[in-house]
């Protein structure tokens, strides 16, 4: 099974093509990525086009698409999802979601409990707790760093790097900082091979849109009460 995975829910634009054999063994065919928080929309499609060339496959050869569903800053997140929906639609293949923090956690290969966290902007982090690289305990959440109960567990991800002073973990390794689509492709194929259900390709926003209902129009004459 040939799968294209990509994620735009963090400052990284990352994409990979992976393949699984009937016995479940994974082969990475190609991967590429760059870190540029402001150019997701420009970078993603050329990255995918380049990958297919490197892997020596045509888009029409793909069996599945897997896309990071966040959580992550919304504008970038939607670049990945809109691309995935349209690609899957045009190619007539299934599209699956992968929680971005799960891909980040999977890449650590850790066997002990830890927390994965990414930047949520507005002085907050998106985070989740893991028993090991494959097992999340609980839901993903968005909180101020000081409100996250880390239980003194190791922290990974760019969120941990940004707020190392709040967490008091200065100096401790927090790599990987960003998710890697190669790990995302492997995780998605592993779950599919095990017959597990992957999330729908819908964004995890975790916050409502910022909008306030307007009050009465502002007075233009100051002496009007």
């Amino acid at each position: 099974m040939l799968l294209l995975a990509f994620d735009t829910a963090t400052p990284a634009v990352t994409a990979a093509i992976g393949e699984s054999d009937p016995d479940g063994s994974f082969t990475l065919r190609a991967s590429a990525g760059s870190v540029d928080a402001r150019r997701h929309g420009e970078l993603l499609s050329p990255t995918i086009a380049r990958l297919t060339g490197e892997a020596g496959v045509a888009l029409a050869d793909l069996d599945r698409i897997a896309v990071g569903i966040g959580p992550g800053p919304y504008t970038g997140l939607r670049v990945g999802l809109a691309t995935a929906h349209a690609l899957a639609d045009a190619l007539g293949v299934p599209c699956h979601g992968v929680t971005t923090l799960d891909a980040l956690a999977f890449a650590t290969r850790r066997t002990e409990p830890f927390l994965a966290m990414t930047d949520a902007r507005r002085k907050e982090v998106f985070w989740a707790r893991y028993e090991d690289h494959l097992t999340r305990t609980g839901e993903v959440a968005v909180d101020r760093p000081a409100e996250v109960d880390t239980a003194d567990l190791p922290l990974v991800g760019d969120g941990a790097r940004m707020y190392a002073d709040v967490f008091g973990t200065g100096g401790a390794p927090v790599e990987p900082l960003h998710p890697d689509a190669a790990a995302m492709a492997e995780l998605a194929l592993l779950r599919l091979h095990r017959g597990e259900k992957l999330p729908e390709p819908h964004p995890l926003y975790l916050r409502r849109p910022d909008a306030v209902e307007p009050g009465a129009p502002k007075k233009v004459r100051q002496w009007v009460k």
Binding site: Y74, A86, D89
Partner: protein, 344 residues
């Protein structure tokens, strides 16, 4: 006709997700999903709400348009998409989807200009646009006067609003008068029963020798009028205020548009954009164009508001002109100038 390329147009610059299929000047399928109902309580378009809605609506809207046209995705010869101007996050959803469709179908991508699309859409109703033409674009986000020498390659901006767009002024005045959002239709309705000469509101940038517009002072004048009436304990005559406000808006718009036709020796005026559905604007434009010997072209209301048809129509024009396709690293441009009908 079938030898002309089939162009799919995708529009997501504001709160309408629009997809359409066009061959030449023929509209084959056109579907629009609007998130306007989600914006009503905020009194204006909330960008994040619009962007979320675009993502949900994108592929279903594509398929409604394809079904209507009776064609399959594989039949599409080119994909056109609004690259700007518009809301950053909203544009990005349409451009991302368009790139993916173009890439997966192996067909060229054309990032085109939303404003020029509003002019190009007229070709779907009235056939090829005479060259040159003057175009007046009036909507909630734009008020522009354009000299259109060639839709695909040569569009010149003559003037713009220096503050609020005309449609924005309608929305703000509607709030002052306790009328619903969007403000255009209710003000137009209320104005039918009012006397436009009962109150004299200012005409922004009237006779200043430019083709620019200003509606912010007019809005403030209406606010003053409302507050003064309130202070004196007088009831508001909403119909009269609406009629006088509308008269002020359409007077300046039509005067400057027709002046531009005369100055440039142009025989055709196109009025498009959401405000083109306004009855007073159409009536006064017809009268003044007749007097000046100018042909007036106003697309039907469905085509005047944001939709995929305008983008497909401009895409078809760009393909016909043999212009090079946009690359896959096409960037959105929230303030793409009209001088760029095609974004690179």
């Amino acid at each position: 006709m079938s030898d002309l390329p089939l162009v799919m147009g995708i529009e997501t610059s504001c709160d309408e997700t629009g997809v359409a299929l066009v061959r030449g000047c023929e509209l084959l399928g056109d579907s629009v999903a609007s998130s306007v109902d989600q914006h009503v309580r905020f009194g204006g378009v909330v960008p994040e709400v619009a962007s979320r809605a675009h993502l949900e609506a994108m592929t279903p809207t594509v398929h409604r348009a394809l079904d209507q046209a009776g064609v399959a995705l594989a039949d599409v010869d080119a994909v056109a998409v609004t690259a700007g101007p518009g809301l950053a996050g909203a544009l990005l959803v349409g451009v991302s989807a368009a790139k993916a469709y173009a890439m997966a179908l192996g067909k060229p991508l054309y990032g085109v200009n939303h404003l020029v699309g509003h002019v190009a859409v007229d070709q779907l109703e009235h056939g090829p646009l005479p060259k040159p033409a003057i175009a007046l674009l009036v909507s909630g986000g734009h008020t522009s006067l354009l000299l259109v020498n060639d839709l695909a390659t040569d569009v010149v901006s003559l003037g713009d609003t220096v503050d609020d767009a005309a449609g924005e002024a309608y929305d703000k005045v509607a709030r002052l008068l306790d009328l619903p959002y969007p403000g255009g239709p209710p003000i137009d309705r209320a104005a039918q029963k009012g006397d436009p000469r009962s109150i004299r509101f200012p005409r922004g940038k009237w006779g200043d020798g430019t083709y620019d517009f200003s509606f912010s002072g007019l809005k403030t004048a209406v606010a003053r009028h409302v507050e003064d009436a309130d202070r004196r304990g007088e009831p508001l005559v909403v119909a009269d205020i609406a009629a006088a406000f509308q008269e002020s808006v359409v007077d300046v718009l039509t005067r400057k548009a027709v002046d531009a036709c005369v100055e440039h020796g142009v025989g055709t005026l196109v009025i498009s954009g959401g405000v083109a559905a306004n009855s007073a604007l159409r009536a006064l434009a017809e009268e003044r164009c007749r007097e000046a010997g100018v042909e007036l072209r106003v697309p039907r209301p469905r085509l005047c508001t944001d939709n995929g048809a305008m983008i497909a129509a401009l895409g078809a024009e760009v393909v016909a002109a043999g212009l090079p396709a946009s690359s896959l690293d096409l960037a959105t441009d929230t303030s793409l100038p009209v001088g760029s009908p095609l974004a690179v």
